[in-house]
């Protein structure tokens, strides 16, 4: 994703020193990154991190205060007409009149884009055949998301922005959305996904950008972000003396969730043996011991905490 790692690849989106201000508030502060066609770039960040403003600037809805954005080589704000023919967008919610019917809407958008996408085939692709005559207001949350995705696909996009694409969707629906995202990537589309769902990001991302307070605090492939972040995880329903355990093992120990603990900086088997010995000696029940790279949510939590401090 970074220009260094994929310099030779086809850049679908290029953001350079982007600044977005709303009055005195700086929502995005000199952000630069690239996203490559044929890869899935996931943008993560807490609320107010600046990811929505960045995406809106990329979609051409917002004029940058400073810096530049290029999507498929076009300025999205000034060359919107040309870009709209090749760009699919999926809003997090809304964007559709409540009384509109599924079949009519998909036909309307296929006609508006005029890229030869067959409405009936598209409806089948997103699994909405059974609700073709249903109005938007009567659809379930998952069906609304799939309809919104269908409207984005009507563009036969070369670049697509998906905002929380699996939010509110059941397990089968999620599998379908992931499949479509993989198909888009394999077809050479530049796929940009904004999500709060870290598990989802882990499943679909080739590249990850983590936003915090208007800046990118980390970027790279999933492996890049997790490399050098070894840890041992375990569960315990007992009270764990973190100081005593830390001193014994020589590594920091912290409680990450209720009954869940992490030993940071190692996945060494010898430390696991020391851990079990300490537990026996201190009469502490432990289980579900695992070792390996940090999960994305831990990476995310650590990076945003570091940035905040």
């Amino acid at each position: 994703m970074s220009s260094a790692s994929h310099a030779s690849e086809n850049v679908g989106l290029s953001v350079s020193h982007l600044v977005i201000q709303y009055g005195d508030i700086t929502a995005v502060d000199h952000v630069s990154f690239t996203a490559v066609s044929g890869r899935v770039t996931v943008i993560l960040g807490p609320n107010g991190a600046g990811k929505t403003s960045t995406i809106e600037a990329c979609e051409g809805f917002l004029a940058p205060t400073a810096g530049s954005v290029q999507v498929l080589g076009l300025n999205p704000y000034l060359q919107r007409k040309q870009l709209n023919r090749q760009m699919g967008i999926m809003l997090q919610e809304g964007g559709i009149y409540p009384s509109a019917r599924v079949g009519e809407l998909v036909k309307q958008y296929c006609a508006l884009y005029g890229n030869g996408v067959d409405a009936d085939v598209l409806i089948s692709r997103v699994g909405l055949e059974s609700v073709i005559s249903t109005t938007y207001r009567r659809l379930s949350g998952g069906e609304k998301q799939r309809l919104s995705l269908a409207l984005a696909l009507a563009a036969r996009p070369q670049v697509i922005f998906l905002d929380e694409p699996t939010s509110g969707i059941d397990v089968n629906g999620r599998d379908l959305v992931r499949l479509i995202i993989r198909e888009l990537r394999n077809d050479g589309c530049c796929v940009i996904v904004a999500t709060h769902e870290l598990d989802e990001a882990e499943r679909i991302a080739d590249d990850v950008l983590i936003f915090h307070r208007g800046n990118i605090v980390a970027s790279g492939t999933l492996d890049d972000l997790r490399s050098g972040r070894e840890e041992i995880r375990f569960r315990s329903n007992s009270t764990v003396d973190l100081h005593s355990l830390s001193t014994t093992l020589g590594f920091p120990v912290e409680q990450t969730r209720l009954h869940e603990f992490t030993i940071a900086g190692t996945s060494d088997a010898r430390v696991i043996v020391q851990l079990t010995d300490w537990a026996k000696a201190n009469n502490v029940d432990i289980g579900d011991i695992g070792a390996g790279s940090q999960r994305l949510d831990d990476v995310f939590r650590r990076l945003t905490a570091e940035s905040a401090s």
């Binding site: 979609e59 051409g60 809805f61 007409k81 709209n84 023919r85 760009m87 967008i89 809003l91 919610e93 809304g94 964007g95 559709i96 009149y97 409540p98 009384s99 509109a100 009519e104 309307q108 958008y109 006609a111 508006l112 884009y113 005029g114 409207l151 563009a155």
Partner: protein, 241 residues
């Protein structure tokens, strides 16, 4: 052209499904015309009830469609992010605006034909109707009221916009001399009515249907001023997102 056709069809479909809007743009004008043409309870400035009412009711119909119906629908489309989503298609703003304008004109044509036919059935005298002036009055009225409707829709939240449009509709209906002659009003209100967009359009319509120039150019000038001012306000105030 295909994109414009596609969007126009969508605009008309959405409108046809909206019961409240159909009641507003067809039900209320038809009901008012039918009721007060046949029940003689209103002062009608010495004319037959239907002859007095028809011009005002046509003005009301244009106000309903160009201001309230368009304004409420567009306000909700803005709140529901429909305009934002359409803004990311190849449709483009000019075609979207044109599709909305054509849908308003299409509805107004249906309204005017229906109201004139109904009035004729109730014995209205249409011999002096000036068609060219009618088209001009409809065009200016549409520009004035759509400008007002879009100015509100472009700034207010969906529900607030709904309430504001309906309240303004009621005020303009009452002060515009649409169902009551302005001569019956207190002097100060009489002049407020005369310079209101609904009063000016109703006056122009009365000249159109009677083939006279009782109100002269003054009402036409007032209406023209409203048309220009309201469109400028809409251009300045309207926000797509």
């Amino acid at each position: 052209m295909k994109l414009l056709r596609t969007q126009l069809a969508c605009e008309l479909r959405v409108l046809a499904r909206n019961g409240e809007q159909l009641l507003l743009i067809l039900g209320i004008p038809v009901l008012l015309l039918a009721f007060f043409s046949n029940v003689d309870v209103l002062p009608t400035a010495g004319q037959r009830g239907v002859n007095f009412l028809l011009p005002g009711i046509v003005a009301l119909a244009i106000m309903s469609t160009a201001m309230v119906s368009l304004g409420i629908a567009t306000g909700f489309e803005r709140s529901y992010l429909v305009l934002k989503r359409l803004g990311a298609t190849p449709l483009g703003v000019p075609r979207l605006v044109l599709a909305k304008a054509l849908s308003v004109v299409a509805v107004e044509i249906v309204q005017v034909i229906l109201l004139v036919a109904l009035a004729y059935l109730f014995g209205a005298d249409l011999d002096a109707l000036n068609l060219a002036k009618l088209v001009l009055a409809i065009a200016l009225g549409t520009l004035a009221f759509s400008g007002i409707g879009l100015s509100l829709a472009g700034r207010l939240r969906g529900e607030v916009n709904l309430a504001a449009q309906n309240a303004l509709y009621l005020v303009l209906l009452l002060i515009g001399g649409i169902v009551f002659p302005l001569q019956e009003f207190p002097s100060w209100l009489h002049w407020v009515g005369r310079i209101s967009p609904s009063g000016a359009l109703a006056d122009v319509m009365r000249d159109v249907f009677s083939g006279t120039s009782i109100h002269g150019a003054s009402s036409l000038v007032v209406l023209l001023c409203w048309a220009i001012t309201a469109q400028l306000a809409a251009f300045k105030l309207f926000r797509w997102n």
